[in-house]
């Protein structure tokens, strides 16, 4: 019994060459414009609503922090008790707080303190954590063991608890002091992420290839390992920038953060507002909403950046 007779649907079939033209094997696709990792991440990002919304809010926030005078003409420290808890009037859209200060103006001027602490703390944590994590991950061995234990010691202290204790030591509570204290307990997270990222990149074939080309250890670390290990650190830095702003507000709320007499801050205002929480909750609402929106924006931005930088989530 011949097979072809039995399986009538399986006779020989050859496709029409016109319908299935033969292409050149492995031809370079030049239809798309050239672009690297970062350029492609940017192309992905700029189409994402999450990124657009969060970056608009953050840009606005930065503008407010840099030039508060443009957005609010009232002096936030000019308070008149006769206006205590007065509702919104012309020129004072959010009304007045218990001390009779203009809430709108205080919310606007409070942005600078929050943004400065957030940016400064993040910069310090990325520098300290990045260097320690990269050294530990790249060189390994005893250096890694020592650095990893040191990291763990700092990591074991909860951020806020450590900050509360340390802040007692500083009578002069400025933005720099708060940022430094937060950074001391914030860097281990960056160090851990950096170390893991460096370890995964270290064993890549292009790193071995660079070594075989004659590149020194330092050159390999700086030119190949670090640029490839950076993306997860950027994501964590963005998210924790929001977290540090929240932490600063918490410290100020507790009265051990920024000095309320010299610096206008959202945390300090929330603290003040709780006195009149029952009678006038709106006083609390405005600084709290500004804080929430800011922290949320940074978390959203971090999420969007994570998706754009993760090659697995992106199709070619």
């Amino acid at each position: 019994m011949s097979e072809s007779a039995l399986f009538e649907a399986q006779t020989r079939f050859v496709a029409d060459l016109e319908e299935t033209p033969l292409g050149t094997t492995d031809q370079v696709d030049e239809s798309t414009p050239p672009g690297g990792l970062w350029l492609e991440a940017w192309r992905t990002l700029r189409r994402r609503p999450l990124f657009i919304i969060s970056s608009v809010i953050i840009l606005l926030l930065l503008a407010v922090a840099l030039f508060p005078g443009v957005f609010a003409t009232q002096d936030p420290t000019h308070c008149e008790l006769q206006n205590s808890l007065a509702g919104s009037t012309a020129g004072h859209p959010f009304g007045f707080d218990q001390q009779g200060c203009d809430i709108y103006s205080r919310v606007i001027h409070g942005a600078r303190a929050s943004v400065s602490v957030g940016v400064l703390t993040t910069t310090i944590t990325v520098l300290i954590g990045g260097v320690i994590g990269a050294l530990a991950g790249f060189y390994g061995g005893w250096l890694d063991s020592v650095l990893a234990r040191v990291t763990d010691i700092f990591f074991s202290v909860p951020l806020l608890l450590g900050a509360i204790v340390c802040m007692q030591a500083f009578p002069d509570k400025t933005v720099v002091v708060v940022a430094l204290v937060l950074a001391v307990f914030g860097w281990p997270q960056v160090a851990r992420i950096m170390r893991g990222s460096v370890i995964s990149v270290r064993s890549a074939e292009y790193v071995t290839a660079a070594t075989a080309l004659g590149a020194s250890r330092t050159k390999v670390l700086l030119r190949h390992v670090l640029p490839n290990a950076i993306p997860p650190v950027i994501v964590i830095a963005t998210v924790s920038l929001g977290a540090f702003i929240g932490a600063e507000a918490t410290l100020s709320f507790l009265g051990i953060g920024l000095n309320p007499a010299t610096t206008v801050s959202w945390g300090g205002d929330i603290n003040q507002a709780q006195n009149s929480l029952r009678s006038d909750p709106a006083v609390l609402l405005y600084p709290a909403a500004a804080l929430t929106l800011t922290v949320l924006s940074f978390i959203m931005l971090g999420d969007a950046v994570r998706e754009a930088l993760d090659p697995k989530s992106r199709k070619r």
């Binding site: 020989r12 060459l17 290839a209």
Partner: protein
């Protein structure tokens, strides 16, 4: 084998419903599948696919990556990844259209009537569950086991059928305790657990060593023949497909270009793509004489150029140790003497266990030739390459480069050595830094070794791109924009930018599709003749060895078991292990029958 099958629980014709052998089991008609890109456009992955599988038959879909072969297979069990969906045509399984089924009906069909053996044995078993649990799960999900004791008993039997000895004990083990081959056998046991009528095997053995691959495919063949299961085999390997299947379906860019009887297609390919595929398949190349003549010519030219260069004093020995030149054999660029590498394995009791990755290996590499080091995973071939490249230090023995012991090098000599010996690695997706543009990647070695100024370096980059047949416009691109084969060309260009004497290719073509593989192998030969290169070619694939190597070293468990000229190894293998390797080449039987 027959004992296992005839024991209780095994299928016998009586407990299976009657199937008309002349009615198609699976019939795909004009199937269109497309994916939606993140820009919202539809990208077709399979277009107008027709194929038919009869009960008990083995049909193979052959194609390179991106040909739509896996897409077609996944459409049959409705497991298309991501945004993939069937946009036209029919998939008839026993006369019922799968594309119109509800989810419930489809779930009933999966496993029970259509089994799947997935591609990657390493990621397809859940690492937190014991093997026994995972096999029982397949039985219970399809209502094949009455209770847990019954499931356990059947699971043990299934593992036994799949060729795993001591099944009772295996049930209590976790996937990480299994080798790749054992995992794949487990996946086969799971795929066949519910006695499906059709088994879809998606590249079931491509992640395994050739000898294991052959054992498992042999076993699968007997098992499915005994059970009367039809098999739809998805593979990139034409030799393997022709050897295992009666009917072949060749796919190219989402379309079926040719289908028919396997032997007929091999003997007389009609479509130009199939012809190209048959001509490129390394395992099927009956053109040994032709290849040999080509090699002889390449080697003659390469030797002339290399020897001339060596006499010019351009070699390392002249740079760093002029006195050594007199003693060096001019023809042997590399001499490996009693090379041994011992690794200490931690966590094995108080004393660290020792593992000899490379065990007393000696051979020489003649200038301008290609020496292949062949072995399966764990044979120590890659460790050997790393020691030659001075990326690992030997425990004992030495590597002589141009007659100079590599181990005695200081920093300066090592830097000079790096310029003469360059690697090309296996993974085309990992060997180029994703943050470097192509230009920067190829320029890096020149900049490191301070060769020329900016302008002359750019000229060299252009020349290298031209040599590897890529347009110079790719300079501005990044690795993720290129295909695997193109990246491998870039890696070659980078390795050759410094005009090395020796290039160590560690599985350099193993990850590429056959047509691209052939292109790269041809390119390597061409460059060898033009630049007088010497290759040390590390590979697991004997079929590739025949295309490129002049001399072959066969390694097993760290030891060199056979070393001879390529023809001698293929025609008169001296060792049993070499013979096993040769027989394991997919389609090996087909060549001998066609060749002699």
């Amino acid at each position: 084998m027959s004992e296992i099958i005839s024991s209780t629980g095994s299928p016998s014709p009586t407990d299976r419903e009657f199937i008309d052998p002349s009615a198609p089991l699976l019939e795909i008609r004009d199937l269109d599948v497309s994916f939606t890109s993140d820009r919202g456009t539809e990208v077709p992955a399979a277009r107008g696919v027709n194929l038919t599988v009869y009960p008990g038959q083995t049909v193979a879909i052959v194609g390179e990556s991106g040909s739509g072969k896996s897409t077609t297979a996944h459409a049959i069990i409705d497991l298309l990844p991501g945004t993939g969906k069937v946009t036209g045509g029919q998939i008839l399984f026993q006369g019922r259209d799968i594309t119109k089924m509800r989810r419930r009906e489809m779930e009933a069909l999966r496993g029970d009537a259509i089994g799947l053996v997935p591609q990657d044995p390493m990621s397809n078993l859940n690492p937190v569950w014991k093997i026994g649990h995972q096999v029982s799960e397949a039985l219970r999900a399809n209502g094949r086991a009455k209770n847990s004791a019954d499931a356990k008993r059947q699971a043990a039997q299934l593992l036994g059928e799949a060729g795993l000895g001591d099944a009772e004990r295996r049930l209590k083990q976790y996937p990480h305790e299994f080798s790749g081959g054992m995992r794949q056998r487990t996946l086969i046991a799971i795929g066949l657990a519910a006695r499906p009528k059709l088994l879809i095997a998606d590249e079931p053995t491509s992640a395994l060593d050739v000898t294991v691959q052959r054992q498992i495919l042999d076993h699968l063949e007997t098992l499915t023949a005994d059970l009367g299961t039809a098999v739809l085999l998805i593979t990139h390997d034409l030799g393997l497909a022709a050897e295992r299947a009666e009917h072949l379906v060749v796919m190219y860019r989402g379309r079926v270009v040719e289908s028919g009887n396997a032997r007929e297609i091999l003997a007389d390919p009609q479509h130009p793509y199939t012809r190209r595929l048959v001509a490129s398949a390394p395992s099927l190349s009956a053109r040994r004489a032709e290849t040999a003549a080509g090699r002889a010519e390449v080697v003659e030219r390469a030797e002339q150029i290399a020897d001339a260069a060596a006499l010019d004093g351009g070699t390392l020995s002249a740079d760093v140790a002029p006195e050594a030149v007199a003693g060096a054999a001019p023809h042997d660029v590399l001499r490996i003497e009693n090379l041994t590498k011992v690794f200490k394995i931690r966590g094995q009791g108080p004393r660290a266990a020792e593992f000899k990755a490379v065990d007393d290996v000696s051979f020489t590499v003649r200038r301008g030739t290609t020496t292949a080091v062949v072995g399966e995973s764990g044979s120590g071939k890659s460790t050997l390459a790393q020691m030659v490249l001075r990326l690992q230090t030997p425990t004992a023995g030495r590597v002589l480069f141009d007659g100079v012991d590599v181990d005695g090098f200081g920093r300066k000599e090592q830097f000079a050595f790096r310029r003469r010996v360059q690697p090309i690695f296996q993974n085309p997706y990992g060997s180029l830094d994703p943050t470097y543009s192509i230009y920067r990647s190829i320029e890096e070695p020149l900049r490191l070794h301070r060769v020329g100024d900016k302008r002359s370096r750019e000229a060299t980059v252009r020349e290298m791109l031209d040599r590897v047949s890529l347009p110079s416009s790719v300079m501005r691109r990044y690795p993720n924009e290129l295909s695997g084969g193109q990246r491998q060309r870039i890696a070659i260009a980078r390795a050759l930018a410094l005009r090395p004497d020796v290039v160590v290719c560690d599985e350099a073509v193993s990850a590429l599709d056959v047509l691209v593989q052939k292109q790269i192998l041809d390119l390597l030969s061409e460059l060898q003749a033009e630049l007088g290169l010497t290759y040390l070619f590390i590979t697991h694939d004997l079929a590739v060895v025949r295309q490129i190597a002049d001399r072959v070293c066969v390694m097993q468990n760290g030891k060199l078991v056979e070393e001879a000229d390529t023809d001698a190894v293929f025609d008169h293998p001296q060792q049993d292990y070499t013979r096993t390797l040769l027989n394991a080449i997919p389609g090996a039987g087909l060549i001998t029958s066609g060749d002699r």
